[in-house]
């Protein structure tokens, strides 16, 4: 099932576009960028976990990683709403807390699936790319400033 991840990815990319870059660009390249980061990142994590001897299937792993983007998509929604109210320090702190919590949720949820399919001495090797993946997405969300 890759429909869910597709919808989440498209929503996240839509909300992330038109950020602090050129406004005459209509955020086009950024949209494609977010897309590529999410899908290519998920593929690389899956390949990494399979090369380390994981027992989860390729598309299952993509599905899990895609669905675990959901907390971050919700965080993006909240951030956009908070930014409508203002862009000061208070708003930043709120956004930081929300994004941080959702990032932790995403990482823990996907780790629960993907690390278990690994032999015990390899778990950290699998968890680190997942951590990095969601960290990058969270970073994009947190540093988003509307035009």
């Amino acid at each position: 099932d890759l429909w869910g991840p597709l919808v989440l990815c498209v929503s996240l990319a839509l909300m992330l576009q038109g950020g602090s870059a050129d406004s005459k660009d209509d955020g086009g390249p950024q949209f494609a960028e977010v897309f590529v980061i999410i899908w290519f990142g998920a593929v690389v994590i899956t390949l990494n976990s399979k090369l380390l001897g994981g027992t989860i299937s390729f598309f299952q792993s993509l599905c899990v990683l895609g669905y675990c983007v959901m907390p971050l998509t919700m965080a993006m929604l909240v951030c956009r709403l908070v930014l409508l109210a203002g862009a000061g320090t208070v708003s930043f702190i709120i956004r930081l807390i929300v994004v941080g919590a959702m990032f932790a949720w995403s990482t823990l949820a996907s780790t629960a699936f993907l690390a278990d399919s690994q032999p015990p001495n390899r778990k950290a090797l699998v968890v680190y790319p997942i951590f990095l993946f969601y960290f990058v997405i969270s970073w994009m969300i947190l540093t988003f400033t509307p035009q």
């Binding site: 498209v10 839509l14 086009g28 949209f31 494609a32 899956t46 027992t55 299937s57 390729f58 299952q60």
Partner: protein, 184 residues
């Protein structure tokens, strides 16, 4: 015999290609075009894989995962006793649509690459992957060969659960232990 299936088999693929070619006429927004084409490609993939292949040429393929996490790719073909003229026409439309569109998307790939409009590259690659996946799956079904011959009852096509009954199937084991992916 299946006019709706035939229509939709071609509709999504052709719409995706047409939208890609003429997106500048429809809308100024890159994002709108990107999302539209992506959705059309996804609908096309789903409908060709799950519906039109089954109805138009009696082939189907899927991936199933055992309890112990091993994934198998299964390719099945329906054994038809007679070929009616309408079925032949439908089959021809099916295969033409299936083969020509990935070729067109590959041409788009090269044209995008050489004209350096790289922001479209992700979309073109997605298009090629989705269409080629269906092409590969169905060719595999078709060329499975008359190795195991059994009858497939029409009731089987009502469900995509694991069929315990006989059917002509070419099961592929994509076991994970040699580090390769379960896909082919």
């Amino acid at each position: 015999r299946h006019p709706l299936a035939t229509f939709f088999h071609l509709f999504f693929r052709v719409s995706a290609i047409v939208t890609y070619l003429f997106c500048d006429w429809f809308s100024n927004s890159f994002v709108a075009c990107f999302v539209t084409i992506l959705l059309l490609l996804s609908f096309d993939f789903w409908s060709v894989k799950n519906v039109t292949g089954r109805l138009l040429v009696g082939l189907r393929w899927w991936n199933q995962i055992d309890e112990d996490g091993k994934s198998h790719w299964v390719f099945e073909a329906k054994r038809v006793p007679t070929i009616a003229a309408s079925t032949e026409a439908e089959a021809r439309i099916f295969w033409l649509g299936l083969i020509i569109c990935p070729v067109i998307w590959t041409m788009f790939f090269f044209s995008t690459l050489f004209s350096l409009k790289l922001k479209w590259l992700a979309l073109v690659i997605a298009g090629i992957s989705l269409q080629t996946a269906n092409l590969y799956g169905y060719i595999h079904c078709k060329l499975g060969g008359p190795k195991t011959i059994s009858r497939v009852t029409s009731r089987l096509f009502g469900t995509t659960d694991v069929p315990k009954r006989q059917s002509r199937r070419i099961a592929e084991d994509g076991t994970e232990d040699h580090g390769k992916t379960g896909t082919r």
